[in-house]
Each structure stands twice: as structure tokens, then as C-alpha cells.
Symmetry: C2
Subunit: 130 residues, 2 copies
């Protein structure tokens, strides 16, 4: 692409900003609607399917299944099946997954902690603009 995109791209040591860069795919998955929350749950420890579903409010089983599949495919999570009845499936972050999820977890935590300030800022903006 163009040379104007040099600054941040260079700082990032890889052109993740480029439209065609494969790392954008991973970034999109990880920062997808549910990807972030699922990773943030898994970073607190191994979880079973139903446990994740219950902890992430509002996620459908379809989307959870889909999201987990993507994470496993990307090498960020492991899926281990205990062949019992009923079956037990546990999801664990890989080492890569843990590395990646750490800043993500900090983000979620930050948002949670500063929820009040965020709401206040938004209210101010809305009042200012009408």
C-alpha cells in the first residue's frame, strides 16, 4: 500500500494495519463481539462450555461454539474431551493464548473499573451537544 502508512505500521513491527495482512484476521476474531469476552473468561482459568456460556451474558450457544472453534484453530485455546457420559469438554488457553489475552484482560478490567467515568463523559458530551 501507500507510504503514508509508515508511522504506526513501523512502530508495530508488522503491518497489522494493512488490509491484506493475515494478522488482521486474528485481530478481527480476537476483538470480535464475543471473542474478547470469551478470552477474558478463559484467562481466569480453564472452563467448560456451559460455564463460559453462563459467565458471558447474552451469548448464544451457536456463537460460543463458533468463537471457541476459531480460538482453537488460531492456536489460542485447547479443547480437551473427557469421554464420559455425559461428556465433559474443557477449554484452556494455550501459552500463546495467555500471552495474547493478557492485554485483553487488562482492557476489560480497565473498562469495568472506569465505568463511572466513561458514563459521566458520555453524559457530558450528550448534554453539550443536545
Amino acid at each position: 500500500m501507500d507510504e503514508s502508512r509508515k508511522t504506526a505500521a513501523r512502530l508495530l513491527s508488522a503491518d497489522t494495519f494493512g488490509r491484506t495482512c493475515p494478522s488482521r484476521k486474528v485481530l478481527d476474531q480476537v476483538t470480535s463481539r464475543w471473542g474478547t469476552l470469551v478470552l477474558a473468561v478463559l484467562v481466569t482459568g480453564p472452563h467448560r462450555f456451559a460455564a463460559i456460556r453462563d459467565e458471558v451474558g447474552g451469548i448464544s450457544e451457536k456463537m460460543l461454539s463458533q468463537t471457541l472453534k476459531q480460538l482453537v484453530r488460531a492456536g489460542l485455546a485447547d479443547r480437551s474431551v473427557d469421554a464420559s457420559v455425559p461428556p465433559q469438554v474443557t477449554y484452556t488457553l494455550t501459552e500463546m493464548g495467555t500471552d495474547l489475552a493478557t492485554p485483553l484482560y487488562q482492557l476489560v478490567r480497565w473498562v469495568g473499573l472506569h465505568n463511572g467515568e466513561l458514563e459521566a463523559a458520555q453524559r457530558q458530551y450528550d448534554a453539550r451537544t443536545g
Copy 2:
């Protein structure tokens, strides 16, 4: 992290996982398709509209405008207009925005740096499953 069995929500000091929690709104914006990349650009310094557009590959002006508006509304970015001809508009992260964008920036950087490993893991998975 060891104190008995606390849910991730508790560990996060706010129920960001809750469906109705307002902080989920912010999280969704920040981790949206373009939100992440725009914030990652701005964390490297103030940028003008066209500069961001050029640096984030593939973003349309409509989406950039929309994304920036959300960030300003959330109190994460400032918009300063230099009333000249042609006009100059510069976007800067607020202090809150910088705090929030830091882990996000680390995430983008991590993905960029580990692009190779990520691709390899995915190829392995695809080969394994056919």
C-alpha cells in the same frame, strides 16, 4: 486469583460480562472492527482525519467518521478544529483514552509480532482436520 471460586465477573470488579452492563457498550465500540485499529493509531500520537484513513488500510471515510465520533463521545478522544482554509481537524487521545488504548496497543503489537506463529498454528490445525 486464588481466593476460592470467584467468577471472572467478580475478579473484574464490575460485571462487564453482564448483558445489560453499560460498560459492555464501550467495550463493544473499542473492540469493534475499526475501533481497535483507530485507537492503536492514535496512541502513537495526534493524527488528522486523512492521516488515520491512510494508515488504517481499508477503512471507509464513513466508518472512520463514525468511529471517531463514538470515541469522542465516550471521552476517549478530543477533536480540535483549526478554522483555516482548508480546515484542519486533529484527533488526540484524552488521558482516559491513552490509558484504555495502552493494553489495546499491546494487543495489536503482540499480534503483529507473533504473526508467523499464528499462521503456523492455523496451518497445523487445518492439516490435522482436513
